[in-house]
């Protein structure tokens, strides 16, 4: 690996009022070998970052509709432009909701089918290992990533779903159990170009042994989420 280039990679982590997992996302970037850069919703300048993470949380309290207000933040205009230009963008949970509201990704998230908030260690299968955020996974690999949300049910019309599946744009599917009633067990998707990825589970909570989900080699030892961040660093090196 080209270590010096990786060290130079600057990954922005965008904070909105009500964002919760921004520090976790910054830690994940750091542990993967990148340099996290804090971005503020009211600042339209992305400060020259190479990629952006929209972390989880309840931006603007999920008021009106999750992500509906945040998409109008000055920083989001810059993110949308950059994403259209090919910059890697990852939306986690509330970040995914914001990406769909900003029309960078299709579909939408509604309340979980069982109506409860759910927090669990969720198994996913990686169905597209060629996006900017998944290129270090093996196609078809099963990973364990914490999931925690209230409005996590992915919905879209059948034509969109067929299109996503036909174009290989379903990046993750829930396995073992569909935790929220998402259409066709979809947990995460990408855009046509493969630089924008959104998913409901939280990879930034599975990056450090001792604080992740349980794994075969120990209690809370799961670090499958780290691969999202090493993947984007690898994609930046290639680019």
């Amino acid at each position: 690996m080209a270590a010096p280039t990786l060290d130079a990679a600057r990954i922005g982590v965008l904070t909105f009022p009500g964002t919760l997992d921004d520090r976790d996302a910054a830690r994940a970037v750091r542990l993967a070998g990148g340099e996290p850069v804090s971005l503020w919703h009211a600042d339209a300048d992305l400060h020259g970052v190479d990629a952006v993470v929209l972390p989880g949380g309840f931006s603007y309290g999920d008021y009106l509709r999750a992500g509906a207000i945040s998409r109008f933040a000055p920083a989001m205009g810059a993110v949308v432009d950059a994403a259209r230009g090919g910059m890697p963008v990852l939306g986690i949970c509330n970040g995914f909701q914001i990406l769909t509201e900003a029309h960078l990704l299709p579909g939408s998230m509604v309340k979980n089918d069982h109506l409860h908030f759910v927090c669990r260690e969720q198994q996913l299968v990686v169905e597209n290992a060629s996006t900017a955020w998944t290129n270090q996974f093996a196609q078809g690999q099963t990973i364990t990533i914490p999931l925690k949300n209230q409005d996590g049910q992915f919905v879209a019309d059948d034509r969109t779903l067929d299109e996503l599946e036909g174009e290989g744009r379903v990046v993750f599917r829930y396995v073992g159990q569909n935790p929220n009633g998402s259409r066709r067990d979809i947990a995460g998707i990408t855009n046509e170009r493969g630089n924008v990825v959104g998913l409901m589970p939280h990879p930034e909570h599975a990056v450090e042994a001792g604080f992740g989900p349980d794994a075969a080699d120990g209690v809370r030892a799961g670090t499958d989420g780290l691969t999202f961040f090493t993947s984007v660093l690898a994609s930046l090196v290639r680019a």
């Binding site: 009022p17 830690r27 008021y63 409860h116 042994a209 001792g210």
Partner: protein
């Protein structure tokens, strides 16, 4: 227009503008002090203090601040014992003690933690969702006011009988309220308690604990020193919610047909709270705050009078500067409003611009409402006229103090005499009977998996959670560079406390202390939330006094100080004098411990086969008040398990050393349901069974196999250890004087127990156990 209907007595009479001058001139004006929860003699004392009648605004302030909820008037004389029994040695780790919003404990390397558990019981019965939500919000703001970053929450929930038609309403509301608010704050929920018992039917208990972290240098105390400093109110606007909540909701029992006594419960906005947390942390970091206080019960009345009296001078406030959600609020209402998500800060004039820039960045509405002065008085103006002129100490600290009569209840002796033995409650003997008993206990609502609740809470956020429910304690990292962190556990067994409140409180401490040690942390400090019946009922008052005595003594013996806490009284709706008048006395005790590396915290179950299963501690035949007596016989009587704090201390030292030396692969304390429950839980944790024998315990301790499996004797724990290192654990236990016996080993997909009982070994396949354990709460509450 028709004439207005005759106003009812309950209608609040809006004064024109009851100024200080007007009050002095109209001494005979009748004031609604009784409706505000004040007794006649308390009202007279206010008149004596002021040398005139209080204005309406002053009356509002005194009434909320002198309520049971704010003044601890019935418990104060007894709570002093916690402080009196703190030795110099116990103060070693204490940076700030009882009396502040929360105590501050030194955990090493320049780090400190502050933690506290509080109740929000009565509002949670009236309006479960908002009651529970604002309970979380309140305790989190308490922790912020110490200058700390909140890092985790826990909640201790007690509801009525699962079969009662009203229980589901309260359960669903409270659980989603804790989750809906807590999950939005980005604080991991790392554990708590969940108990169902008919005694909590009309009086559910919703306690919430928060722990925060700060550097030693960053402790912020709530006081208003410095003449000329600005008094700033920021956060949410002040509205009409929760007016009178402090004095009325929390102090009086609910009576039908008195709507005026049921004002609206406060309504929480977790988004505002999250923004307020981040805003406060940035204010602290910028060092622009001299003093800070959260607005909780009694709102501005409490914050201004406490800040002013904790400083050296006085304070002047202009109520017209308070930002209102409802412009029609009168002065008394503004002073009493318990609108959530508000903070008050004292700021030097030269730091004001910097302060305002930070609140503006976070879009937090901010208003300078007053100034610190040297008058020694708290004065408040409204519409340009003086409506409050008081000595703030008389409001905040010099409220009435009662030494209420208390006496051992008439029914206590009969309750104690009604033992399981005297009743001749049939005990299982054969393998099949014991197996069926173990499964029924495992599926009982109080012993079954709490995942239905805890899976609705975020335990991952912040990325520092090393252990959470269902492990014995919650563990969070404090320092990312060293992995130093803290463990927390809370406990209370209301059934034990009902049989003997003094012992019950000590047992609650013993179990929380044991739980913290079981994950491998060194116990350091205690917080408590004392949930009891009416202080005006001598029976309930006796329970409170006994519990405080028992807890204060036990803290002294274990060498862990109480650093702060809360008292919730009036959890009583039955006819006085009866055995079932009030809730089970419920002294919730939280213990905080420290770990030098949280990654080594010990989980409550084993993941590998072939580990030796050891039992530490001795077993006696102690089944009165037990889960067995409850689940199998719906019986409560006799005496609770004996407290042996020396044995707890010795056990804890072995468990802490086992973690430090990397000896313990798993550890789980024995409590409700005894050894059988502990074995099943430890096996279900990671789906690895065990094959054990109770014969060595039964023989050594002279108890029946039934008692060996279901007795609730304290100071016991299971430890799973690599056979190659078993001798080290045994030697350490023996050196500490802790009896130790090898029960068997881990492995297989069942819990198999051999014993000297009829019918051969009893075997519980894990799949069957899991169905019993995990099926119960979803089946009831789905």
């Amino acid at each position: 227009m028709t004439a207005p209907a005759e106003s009812s007595a309950a209608t609040y009479q809006r004064p024109v503008l009851d100024t200080v001058e007007h009050a002095a001139a109209t001494p005979d004006e009748v004031q609604p002090y009784a409706d505000l929860g004040l007794k006649a003699d308390e009202y007279q004392r206010i008149r004596d203090i002021l040398g005139r009648r209080p204005t309406a605004a002053e009356l509002a302030m005194y009434s909320v601040m002198w309520s049971e909820h704010c003044s601890y008037k019935s418990s104060k004389v007894h709570l002093r014992k916690f402080g009196e029994r703190v030795t110099e040695e116990m103060k070693e780790h204490l940076l700030v003690g009882i009396g502040e919003n929360a105590g501050v404990v030194d955990i090493g390397d320049g780090w400190a933690v502050t933690f506290k558990v509080e109740s929000h019981n009565h509002p949670s019965f009236v309006e479960p969702y908002q009651g529970a939500a604002t309970g979380v919000g309140g305790i989190v703001r308490d922790i912020i006011s110490m200058g700390a970053r909140p890092v985790a929450v826990m909640d201790q929930l007690r509801f009525g009988d699962v079969a009662h038609p009203d229980t589901a309403r309260v359960v669903h509301g409270v659980v989603s309220g804790v989750g809906g608010y807590g999950n939005s704050l980005g604080l991991p929920n790392i554990g708590g308690e969940l108990v169902f018992d008919a005694s909590y039917q009309g009086n559910p208990l919703v306690n919430a604990l928060c722990v925060g972290v700060l550097r030693h240098d960053d402790i912020h105390l709530a006081n208003a020193s410095g003449v000329g400093n600005k008094v700033i109110l920021f956060g949410a606007r002040t509205g009409g919610d929760g007016i009178g909540g402090a004095s009325i909701l929390a102090s009086e029992t609910f009576e039908d047909g008195v709507p005026a006594k049921r004002p609206s419960v406060q309504v929480g906005d977790p988004f505002m709270e999250k923004v307020l947390i981040e805003c406060c942390l940035e204010l602290f970091q910028a060092k622009v705050v001299e003093g800070i206080q959260d607005l909780g019960a009694a709102g501005i009345s409490c914050a201004t009078s406490e800040l002013a009296s904790n400083g050296e001078g006085g304070m002047h406030v202009d109520l017209d500067s308070v930002l209102l959600r409802d412009p029609t609020l009168n002065a008394g209402e503004i002073l009493m409003s318990e609108s959530q998500e508000r903070m008050m800060a004292v700021v030097r004039p030269e730091k004001l611009d910097e302060f305002l820039a930070i609140t503006a960045k976070w879009d937090v509405e901010t208003s300078v409402i007053g100034e610190v002065n040297a008058t020694g008085r708290l004065t408040i103006d409204h519409h340009g006229q003086r409506i409050v002129d008081v000595d703030p100490k008389t409001v905040a600290h010099e409220g009435p103090v009662y030494d209420r009569p208390y006496a051992r209840p008439a029914w206590q002796d009969a309750l104690v005499a009604d033992t399981t033995a005297a009743r001749g409650l049939p005990r299982p003997e054969t393998a099949e009977q014991l197996r069926a008993t173990a499964l029924r206990l495992l599926a009982a609502p109080n012993l079954a998996s709490k995942a239905w609740v805890t899976d609705q809470y975020d335990r991952f956020v912040q990325g520092n959670t090393a252990l959470a429910q269902p492990d014995d304690g919650g563990v969070v990292r404090v320092d990312e560079s060293t992995n130093r962190g803290v463990a927390l556990a809370t406990d209370a067994n209301g059934r034990y406390a009902k049989l003997d409140p003094r012992t019950g409180a000590a047992l609650a401490l013993a179990e929380a202390y044991r739980n913290v040690a079981t994950v491998g942390a060194e116990p350091l400090a205690v917080t408590d939330c004392l949930n009891f019946g009416s202080p005006e009922n001598a029976d309930s008052m006796w329970q409170l006094v006994e519990a405080i005595e028992g807890l204060a003594d036990a803290c002294q013996e274990l060498g862990v100080p109480v650093t702060g806490g809360n008292v919730s009284l009036y959890n009583e709706t039955g006819e006085p004098g009866r055995v079932d008048s009030a809730i089970h006395p419920t002294p919730v005790v939280g213990v905080l411990g420290v770990l030098d590396d949280v990654r080594t915290a010990v989980p409550s179950g084993w993941r590998a086969a072939g580990l030796s299963v050891l039992l530490l501690g001795t077993t006696a035949d102690e089944l009165d008040g037990s889960a067995w007596a409850d689940v199998e016989h719906q019986h409560l009587g006799g005496v609770p398990p004996r407290v042996d704090l020396a044995a707890e201390k010795a056990l804890a030292s072995v468990l802490v050393a086992a973690r430090r030396d990397g000896l313990a692969a798993a550890a789980h304390d024995l409590s409700e349901g005894g050894l059988a429950q502990a074995l099943l839980e430890a096996s279900l944790r990671f789906g690895v069974g065990a094959r054990v024998s109770v014969a060595p315990v039964a023989e050594r301790d002279g108890v029946t196999p039934f008692a060996a499996l279901f007795s609730e004797t304290t100071a016991r724990a299971l430890v799973a250890v690599d056979p190659a290192r078993e001798a080290e654990v045994v030697a350490a236990a023996q050196a500490a004087g802790v009896p130790v016996v090898r029960l068997g080993e881990t492995g297989g997909d069942a819990v198999v127990v051999e014993g000297p009982f009829e019918g051969g070994a009893l075997e519980i396949p894990l799949a069957e156990a899991r169905e019993a354990f995990e099926g119960t709460l979803p089946r009831i509450f789905g």
